[in-house]
């Protein structure tokens, strides 16, 4: 399948959309409502709280028809949704940081059971040291668990991507849970102008709901969900191995599906977002900086200013972090001679940012040496301003002529 099946013809011109001013958390809630989930389970945690408050309010006001479960903790939140999804429900929740850590046990299992649950991660830096503020450490820590993870740059992208996430998750070639990551504080509380899609248009975009065609707990077609596999007896590990392979296939398929869904979204709603990797003023650039999430806006402004100052610099933004968009990224990396990667979290094992670490793997595949360095900024709610990006641009520019430092640069060390 190369194009998404469309339930209704795509209008040539999108219907007029309501313009609103909302914070990122409310945008996510509005997106969820438009996607018409059957079940939402919530447990509040900073900086996600206002998101679930918005969802609860939408349901209370009758603007959203979903069963809301105020569970006693994130562990149960995700567990309730697993049960719901196995009974055919479209499901949604949101969490972050310690909540994500607490739900790790069912979190790991969601992807294994191939349940298309959508969960926003309103990213929060990891404790300890104690912090309730933003940072990507939570989402980065669970990047190896088989969820699709996409990061949003703007409030509008939060709204639109939240809707798209359901379509990606439930795609028969994917059948995987999806995290929509929005930066705690800057995106969650940042209030911005958004265009609100019409419900009918979203319904047409979403098509017919078909959540549990694959795995179900339904007396009409009884099956044992998740029987014991592996071991050295019986059929041995083959069932398990085939299953894992299928999960990886689903992850790889999602790259294609994410692109298709974004393309359809652009056609229907007139707003396009780079699905996997975005290039900004990269053509003709000698070097580039690489960003993720809400920091990208300031970075783009800095790039514009640097270009105005005669610097030949461009920008690469990652939207889809899991699965890592290797092929798309290779094309972008092939255009440049040096790279500075800005992470909002830490990769403890390599003493660098995790996105930098992942990119180094891609760079190896490129087959050409590109000097690169890691920048770590925006931890625990710290700001990454245009000023910080100018430092990044300057340091990256130096890589064209000087050896790359091994140590990462900690952008907010003295802020």
């Amino acid at each position: 399948m190369t194009t998404a099946t469309l339930e209704t013809p795509i209008p040539t011109k999108p219907a007029k959309q309501k313009v609103m001013l909302v914070e990122g958390n409310e945008a996510a809630a509005l997106g969820v409502a438009l996607a018409r989930p059957d079940m939402v389970a919530v447990y509040p945690i900073t900086p996600q709280s206002s998101l679930v408050e918005h969802v609860a309010k939408l349901i209370a006001d009758g603007k959203m028809d979903a069963d809301i479960v105020d569970a006693e903790g994130e562990h149960s939140v995700l567990s309730v949704l697993q049960g719901g999804a196995l009974a055919g429900a479209r499901t949604y929740t949101a969490t972050c940081g310690p909540g994500l850590a607490f739900m790790f046990e069912p979190y790991f299992r969601t992807s294994g059971m191939r349940l298309p649950i959508v969960m926003s991660i309103v990213t929060r830096d990891g404790i300890t040291p104690q912090s309730v503020w933003g940072g990507h450490q939570d989402a980065m820590t669970v990047r190896e668990v088989g969820w699709v993870q996409v990061y949003c740059e703007t409030v509008q992208e939060v709204l639109d991507t939240t809707i798209m996430a359901f379509k990606i998750a439930e795609h028969h070639d994917v059948m995987l849970p999806v995290n929509v990551c929005l930066d705690g504080n800057y995106l969650s509380y940042g209030t911005s102008r958004v265009e609100l899609p019409n419900q009918e248009d979203v319904d047409a975009f979403m098509g017919v709901k078909d959540v549990n065609w694959h795995v179900a707990l339904d007396p009409l077609r009884p099956m044992a969900v998740d029987p014991l596999t592996g071991g050295s007896g019986g059929k041995g590990p083959s069932t398990f191995v085939r299953y894992r392979k299928g999960q990886c296939k689903g992850m790889q398929n999602s790259l294609r599906v994410i692109e298709e869904v974004h393309a359809e979204w652009a056609q229907r709603f007139g707003r396009s977002f780079a699905p996997l990797v975005e290039e900004y003023r990269l053509d003709g650039a000698d070097y580039a900086i690489m960003t993720l999430g809400s920091m990208t806006g300031a970075a783009k402004d800095a790039i514009d200013e640097a270009r105005d100052a005669g610097k030949n610099v461009g920008l690469i933004k990652i939207k889809t972090f899991s699965p890592f968009p290797i092929d798309a990224l290779l094309k972008s990396l092939d255009k440049i001679q040096a790279l500075g990667v800005v992470d909002r979290s830490v990769g403890f094992r390599w003493n660098c940012g995790p996105m930098y670490q992942e990119t180094m793997g891609v760079l190896y595949r490129l087959g050409r040496h590109i000097p690169s360095m890691s920048f770590i900024g925006g931890l625990a709610g710290a700001d990454i301003t245009t000023g910080h990006f100018h430092r990044v641009i300057e340091a990256t520019e130096k890589l064209l002529s000087s050896p790359a430092p091994i140590e990462p640069v900690w952008l907010n060390e003295k802020d």
Binding site: S79, V80, G88, E105, V225
Partner: protein, 452 residues
Amino acid sequence: MGTFGGAYNTIAFDADKCDGCGDCMTACATAKVGVGDTARSRIQIAGNAADGFELALCRQCADPKCVTVCPAAALTKNYANGVIDWNGDKCVDCLLCTVGCAYAGIALDAGTGHVAKCDTCDGAPACVPACPHDALTYITTSRIYNEVGDWEDLFAPGLAGCQGCNTELLMRHTLRRTGPETVLATPPGCVPGMGSVGFNGTTGTKVPVFHPLLTNTAAMLAGVKRQYKRVGREVLALAIAGDGGASDVGFQSLSGAAERNEQILFMVVDNEGYMNTGMQRSSCTPYGAWTSTTPVGQGTGSGGMPSQGKTQDAKNLPLIMVNHRCEYVATASTAYMEDLYDKLDKAIAASKRGFAYLHVYSPCTTGWRFPTDQNMEVARKAVETNFVMLWEYNPADGLHFTRPVDDPLPVTEYLKAMGRFRHLSPDQVSHIQSKVVENLAFVKQMAHRESA
């Protein structure tokens, strides 16, 4: 030949409780011939205090020899109630029937010159309530057998349980009762270990079944139930969980679901430890019990306590559930199937309104170390000593005992039945006995208060 497969109510005799007082015989003779002449009673106590007492009473045999040897067609097996009926109009007093019976269940009544036999007083035997020691009971469990017999067994044949385990009995009965419109959750433990969720592509049940995590059974089931409710389908959400998953690591989700009054039937099979994974201690393991993590050792354990089994008392999970004010909470035992069935019926009904919790005691032949043929006996002794109490609770009627044991056996009668308590010192035994007394007092107080 009649109807095969039926079961009937019966008068049961516990020889250990009989002291030969003869009150049953007086009651029988009074009821049947109008005078308390024990010689004319149809129930006859034989024996003596030294050797123990025995009972001569019609066993209402399924394949009665008295009937086959009657030349006059005066005896017939009544397939409606199981009683062997004697027809005085047809009887010719030849006494051949007495020759047919190996147990003197039918004998000459010298007062009439005819044979006489027990007819169970039309289902209300006079002898049973007359016994001052509860040695006689009128067992009506047959109702279950007769009703359940035609229901579909929703578990696969040949579940891989340990020999003598009562859990298979429990699982099969429970699913037969709940029927096919059930979604079953069996968190890690003995129940999936027996194959309920199957291995490598096979399944153990005919209903949808899944392994939740040890920690999230109640939450996952809540999700399943809510979605079916949302789409207007009547599906029973059933958990059959072990005590470890419920009382320890799974307690949070259990408590949360109970507080939200999720419409779930949550059954805990309490074998007082992690018996599937090597018999480790759980919070439901009783004081003094040997487990593989509360071993009996030579040295002194932590805090200077001797390493002589578990040093803490068991958590009383069902009482904790009462404090959630669930729609229904009950304790049950497979030694009292009739009681269990009543509770199962009520729990199923309650689960349509909210959270229903059933706590079933499940002696573990392997982990508790007793012979495989003793499961029911151990379960019964637990109740007869008040080590385990059978009660039920609902918010409207409060808590009440369903099988009060007013004259309990000493707890040693229970403890000595299994190896996990073999090492107990007199001090430990007296601790357990005092806890039994304390627990009983506590639940009694609760029963009193709740019903007040």
